[in-house]
C-alpha cells in the first residue's frame, strides 16, 4: 500500500492495461531477469544489509522519548492518524511503564499497529502534526518508534480482545491484505464468523509482498497475522481469486455480508514498445520475489538499473537493488523533486543508499541488445510549460541491465467481471463506497486501495476495514432485531 499509488497519481495519463489473470503470476523475475548475474556478496552479508532500517528504541530511549509527549488534548497527532489511535494515551502508558496498556490502546484502534508503526509515513501523518514539530523545536515525538516499542514489548498471556457471543452471522472477506484482515478481526470481535478468500499463498497483502524488506524484517507480517488470528472465528482460504475461481454473486448469496479488500493488483504499463522484453518488469514483481526469498544471493542483480517512478515503491526498489550490490542505480522521474510522491524522508533513504535521483525525464524508448534484452532506455527531457508537462525536444540515453517500472498500481478490472460485480458503482476505475464503506450494492462493503476513499496507505486500509466491520455489524444486528 504505502505510497505506491502516489506514484500512480503522477502518471495519470499513462494507459492502463492489467495483465490477463492467467499471465499475472507467470511474469516472474526468473523469466525476465534470468540472464542477469547473482549478487557477489554472501547470503549472510546481504541479510545484514537488509536489516531493520529504523532500529527499535531501547528501553531508555523509549522512556526519554515518551516523556517528551505533551499529552495534548484533542491532539493533532490523533487527528492526523487515519486509524485514530489515541496516541497521547498510549505514550503516557509507556511513560508509566505500562507497556501492555499502551499496546492494547494501539491495537484497539488498529489491529495492525505493529506493521503501521514500521511502514507508516509518519513524517506526513502523526509526526508531522505533533505540536513539538513546531518552528521553535522542529523535533516531533517519535510516535512511530514508540508505537513499535509498545507492540514489540507487550506480552499478552492470551489474545487481548475477547469475542462477543456468537452472532450466527457469516461474512466473506475478499483479500487478506490490511483492509481485509482488519475487517475480519473486528467482525470476529463482534461474534461473527469470517471467511477470508485470498488469491496468494500467504495472507498479509502488501505487508507480506510489497514493502521493502528492511522496513518489515523478521517475517513480521506473518507474526502479526498469527497474533490477529488468535481471536478465533476467522478462516482463510487461499488460492481464491475473484474473477477467476471466485464469484461475487455466489459469495453474496452464501454469506450475510461481503467485504472487498482487493487492493490494486495491476501494475501500470509504460505504453512503450518492447515492454515485455527480458530485463523490464514491474518493481512490485521484483519486490515480491525478494521478500519471499530465503537467500538474497540467489536473486538476479542488475548492476546498472533504472527505476521509473517517484513513489515509495520506486524508492524501495532502487534502495533494495543498491543493497543487493548494484553499482549504478538511477531513479528517473518525469517531474521535479517537489512533485515526488516519495516523502523527503524516503528520498533521503535513497540518497543514503547511493541511488541517483534524476528528474524531468520521461521514458521514450526501451533499448535492446542483439539478444532482445534490455540494454538501456532513452528519455525525453521534460519541463513545465504553463502548468503542463512538455518535452523539451532533447533526449538522452541511460545504459541499464534492467528497468523496473514503479509508476503506480491500478485497479485490476479482471477481478470484477461477474454480473453482480458489474453493478458495483465505480469512481474512476476504483469501487465507489459511501462513508460507511458500503458499495452501491446492499450487503457489499469495500475498503483499502480498491476504493477511491482516502489515502492509499496501509493505515488507511486498516481503518477502512475496521469501519466497514462496524457498519456491517450494525447493519446485521439491526436486521436481526427487526426479524
Amino acid at each position: 500500500m504505502l505510497a505506491i499509488e502516489r506514484a500512480a497519481l503522477t502518471m495519470k495519463t499513462t494507459p492502463v492495461r492489467g495483465h490477463p489473470p492467467q499471465d499475472r503470476e507467470a511474469i516472474t523475475v526468473i523469466d525476465t531477469l534470468s540472464h542477469l548475474p547473482r549478487p557477489p556478496a554472501a547470503a549472510a552479508e546481504l541479510a545484514d544489509r537488509f536489516g531493520d532500517l529504523a532500529p527499535p528504541l531501547t528501553a531508555r530511549q523509549a522512556a526519554l522519548e515518551s516523556a517528551r509527549c505533551l499529552y495534548c488534548y484533542d491532539a493533532p497527532c490523533v487527528n492526523a492518524c487515519p486509524s485514530e489511535i489515541d496516541i497521547p494515551a498510549f505514550i503516557r502508558n509507556i511513560q508509566q511503564e505500562n507497556v501492555q496498556g499502551a499496546a492494547q490502546t494501539i491495537l484497539s484502534a488498529n489491529i495492525l499497529g505493529g506493521s503501521c508503526a514500521r511502514v507508516c509515513p509518519t513524517e506526513i501523518l502523526c509526526q508531522q502534526a505533533c505540536v513539538r514539530n513546531n518552528a521553535q523545536e522542529c523535533a516531533p515525538v517519535l510516535i512511530g518508534l514508540l508505537q513499535r516499542h509498545a507492540l514489540d514489548h507487550a506480552q499478552f498471556a492470551e489474545h487481548p480482545f475477547q469475542r462477543a457471543a456468537a452472532s450466527g452471522k457469516r461474512i466473506a472477506v475478499v483479500g487478506a491484505g490490511p483492509a481485509g484482515l482488519s475487517c475480519a478481526h473486528r467482525l470476529a470481535l463482534h461474534g461473527h464468523e469470517v471467511v477470508i478468500f485470498e488469491a496468494r499463498e500467504k495472507a498479509g497483502g502488501l505487508n507480506e509482498y510489497g514493502i521493502a524488506k528492511y522496513k518489515l524484517v523478521d517475517d513480521f507480517a506473518q507474526r502479526e497475522l498469527e497474533f490477529l488470528l488468535q481471536i478465533g472465528g476467522i478462516e482463510i482460504r487461499h488460492g481464491h481469486r475473484l474473477g477467476e475461481n471466485l464469484s461475487l454473486s455466489e459469495l453474496h448469496q452464501q454469506f450475510d455480508a461481503l467485504f472487498l479488500g482487493i487492493g490494486l493488483a495491476a501494475s501500470k504499463r509504460l505504453g512503450l514498445a518492447h515492454e515485455d522484453a527480458p530485463g523490464l518488469l514491474a518493481a512490485t514483481d521484483y519486490i515480491r520475489e525478494l521478500r519471499q526469498s530465503d537467500d538474497l544471493s540467489q536473486l538476479p542483480l542488475a548492476e546498472r538499473c533504472i527505476v521509473l517512478g517517484a513513489g515509495n515503491t520506486a524508492i524501495d526498489m532502487a534502495v533494495q537493488m543498491s543493497k543487493l550490490g548494484a553499482r549504478d542505480v538511477n531513479l528517473v522521474y518525469r517531474r521535479g523533486f517537489a512533485e515526488m510522491g516519495a516523502t523527503g524522508h524516503e528520498q533521503a533513504i535513497a540518497k543514503a543508499n547511493q541511488v541517483r535521483l534524476l528528474t524531468w525525464a520521461q521514458p521514450q524508448e526501451v533499448l535492446l541488445n542483439d539478444q532482445g534484452q534490455v540494454r538501456g532506455m532513452r528519455f525525453a527531457r521534460t519541463r513545465l510549460d504553463s502548468g503542463r508537462l512538455q518535452s523539451t525536444g532533447e533526449s538522452f540515453e541511460l545504459a541499464a541491465d534492467a528497468i523496473f517500472s514503479a509508476i503506480g498500481q491500478a485497479f485490476d478490472g479482471q477481478a470484477l467481471v461477474d454480473p453482480l460485480a458489474g453493478e458495483l458503482k465505480r469512481e474512476g476505475e476504483r469501487i465507489w463506497v459511501d462513508q460507511n464503506l458500503q458499495t452501491s450494492v446492499p450487503g457489499i462493503y469495500a475498503g483499502g486501495d480498491c476504493t477511491a476513499l482516502g489515502q492509499d496507505l496501509t493505515v488507511q486500509a486498516v481503518q477502512h476495514g475496521k469501519l466497514a466491520a462496524e457498519a456491517i455489524h450494525t447493519h446485521l444486528m439491526r436486521n436481526a432485531e427487526a426479524a
Binding site: A63, L70, C72, Y73, D74, N79, Q95, V131, R132
Partner: protein, 424 residues
C-alpha cells in the same frame, strides 16, 4: 564585575556559596576539593560525642521526574561516623591551609549543658570561623533526643543557643528544622538565646517511594526502611517561604539568615537572597553533579548582578521581603486576564482542558476547518488564576495581562464584603 564577597554574621567569605553540613563536607579530602573548586565556605559535617555514629547501608533514595531527573532527594544518614579527634585535627589543618574561606563546624551533642561545655572549646581551638547547631536532623538522631527533637521545642533551642554563646566566642548559627508548625517560633527562640544567625531549612521528613515488588519503602535496609530527610529542588518552595516568614517577622527582623533548600543555580541563590538571606548553603545539587557547579553559580550570579547594577549582595538582599505579605493585605481589585499568543501557540490544548475540567471554563476550543483547534480566552470567565500559563509548554506563550479596572487599591481588611472589616 560585581563583588560576591560577603560578611555573614561576622564570618567573611569570598562568595556566598557554602556547602551545607552533609556527606560532601565529611572529611578533609572532600572539603579541600570543594575549596579548590571555588566554594566560598563549608559547614563541616556534624560532629558529635564519641563514640561516633554508625551508619546503615543503603542510605539515599530519590523522587524522580519523567526523565529521571532528581526532583527530590532523601537520606537516612546520621552525623559523622568518624571520631571527634580525627575531625578536629582535619578541621584545624584545612582552616590553616584555606584561611580566606569560611569554615563552620556543625555540632550535635545531647541536650545537656556539660556536653556542650566540653565540646565547644575543642571546636573553637581548631581556628574555625563559627559553629552551626544542628537542631534539624529529622531521622535517627531525634530518637536519641538530639537533632529535630531539640529543634521542635523552642525552649531547648533557646537554652542550647545560650550555652553556646556563653561557652565560646564564635558566631553561632542555629540550623532550623522545617518539621514544625510555625518556623518563626524556633527562629524567635534562637534569637532570644543570642544566635548570631539562623540557617534553614534542614531536611523534611519523607518517604520518597515504595518498591511495589518487595513492598518496602526506599531506601531499603534489608527488608525494611525508615523515613528520611528530604531535600533537593522539590523543597525549595518550602524553604523560600520559611525564610520569608522569618525575614518579615518583626521579632527577628535583622537576624542574618543563611538559606538552604534546593539551591542548584545562581538564580535559586538570588531568590533566597532577595527574600532576606546573606549567604546560601548547597548540598543536593553538588551531590548530583560534583563541586564544579559552583563555577556557573558564581559566574551567573555576578553577571546578573552586573545587569541589575548591584555591586554587592547587600544591594539586593531582602529586596523582595517588603513585597511578601499576608493575604489580607493583597489588592482585591487587581485583575489579570490570560492572553494567548496565537503565533507562539502550538495547539496542544492543555490550557483548554485544564481550565475546562478543573478551573473556570474560560478557554474556548474552536475547531478549525483543517481539524486543528484554536484556543481563545473568554475574558468574562477568566479569573486570572495562572493555571493555563503554568500548564502551557511554551515559554511566554500565555501572558497574564493586568487589566485597568478603574478601581482603587482595596484589601480584604477594608473590603465591604468582609463582615469583619476594619472600620474606615
Amino acid at each position: 564585575m560585581a563583588d560576591l564577597s560577603i560578611e555573614f554574621a561576622g564570618i567573611k567569605a569570598p562568595n556566598p556559596f557554602w556547602l551545607a553540613s552533609a556527606p560532601p563536607t565529611d572529611k578533609a579530602y572532600n572539603v579541600i576539593r570543594a575549596f579548590e573548586a571555588g566554594w566560598g565556605g563549608v559547614v563541616w559535617k556534624t560532629l558529635g560525642e564519641d563514640p561516633a555514629a554508625v551508619n546503615v547501608s543503603s542510605r539515599y533514595s530519590a523522587h524522580f521526574g519523567a526523565n529521571r531527573e532528581v526532583l527530590g532527594f532523601n537520606n537516612i544518614e546520621l552525623i559523622t561516623d568518624r571520631s571527634l579527634e580525627i575531625n578536629l585535627r582535619e578541621i584545624t589543618q584545612v582552616k590553616k591551609a584555606w584561611p580566606d574561606r569560611a569554615l563552620i563546624v556543625s555540632l550535635m551533642v545531647p541536650c545537656v549543658e556539660e556536653s556542650w561545655k566540653t565540646i565547644l572549646p575543642l571546636v573553637e581551638a581548631t581556628g574555625c570561623d563559627g559553629i552551626e547547631l544542628n537542631f534539624g536532623c529529622p531521622h535517627g538522631m531525634p530518637e536519641r533526643g538530639m537533632g529535630a527533637a531539640v529543634g521542635q521545642v523552642p525552649e531547648y533551642v533557646e537554652r542550647v543557643t545560650r550555652w553556646c554563646k556563653s561557652y565560646c566566642a564564635l558566631p553561632v548559627i542555629v540550623k532550623l528544622t522545617p518539621n514544625i508548625t510555625d518556623i518563626r517560633t524556633a527562629a524567635r527562640a534562637a534569637y532570644r538565646g543570642g544566635a548570631d544567625a539562623v540557617s534553614l531549612i534542614n531536611t523534611i521528613n519523607s518517604i520518597t517511594s515504595v518498591d511495589l515488588e518487595r513492598m518496602v519503602a526506599n531506601p531499603i535496609v534489608g527488608s525494611q526502611s525508615t523515613h528520611g530527610g528530604y531535600c533537593g529542588s522539590a523543597v525549595k518552595p518550602i524553604a523560600l517561604n520559611m525564610v520569608a516568614e522569618i525575614a518579615r517577622d518583626p521579632e527577628t527582623r535583622g537576624l542574618p539568615i543563611c538559606g538552604i533548600g534546593g539551591i542548584g543555580s545562581w538564580r535559586d541563590a538570588a531568590e533566597f537572597v532577595a527574600l532576606g538571606c546573606g549567604a546560601v548553603q548547597v548540598c543536593t545539587a553538588a551531590m548530583l553533579h560534583g563541586f564544579r557547579i559552583v563555577e556557573q553559580m558564581q559566574d551567573g550570579l555576578s553577571r546578573w548582578m552586573d545587569s541589575q547594577g548591584y555591586q554587592s549582595l547587600a544591594d539586593f538582599s531582602g529586596k523582595a521581603v517588603g513585597n511578601t505579605t499576608d493575604w489580607k493585605y493583597l489588592d482585591i481589585n487587581y485583575q489579570v486576564i490570560a492572553r494567548i499568543d496565537q503565533d507562539a501557540c502550538i495547539g496542544c490544548g492543555r490550557c483548554h482542558i485544564a481550565c475546562e475540567d478543573t478551573a473556570h471554563q474560560a478557554i474556548a476550543s474552536l475547531e478549525q476547518a483543517d481539524g486543528t483547534h484554536k484556543y481563545e480566552v473568554i475574558d468574562a470567565e477568566c479569573v486570572g488564576c495562572n493555571l493555563c500559563q503554568i500548564t502551557c509548554p511554551v515559554q511566554d506563550c500565555i501572558e497574564m495581562v493586568a487589566q485597568d479596572t478603574g478601581k482603587p487599591f482595596l484589601d480584604w481588611q477594608h473590603d465591604p464584603r468582609n463582615p469583619y472589616r476594619v472600620a474606615s
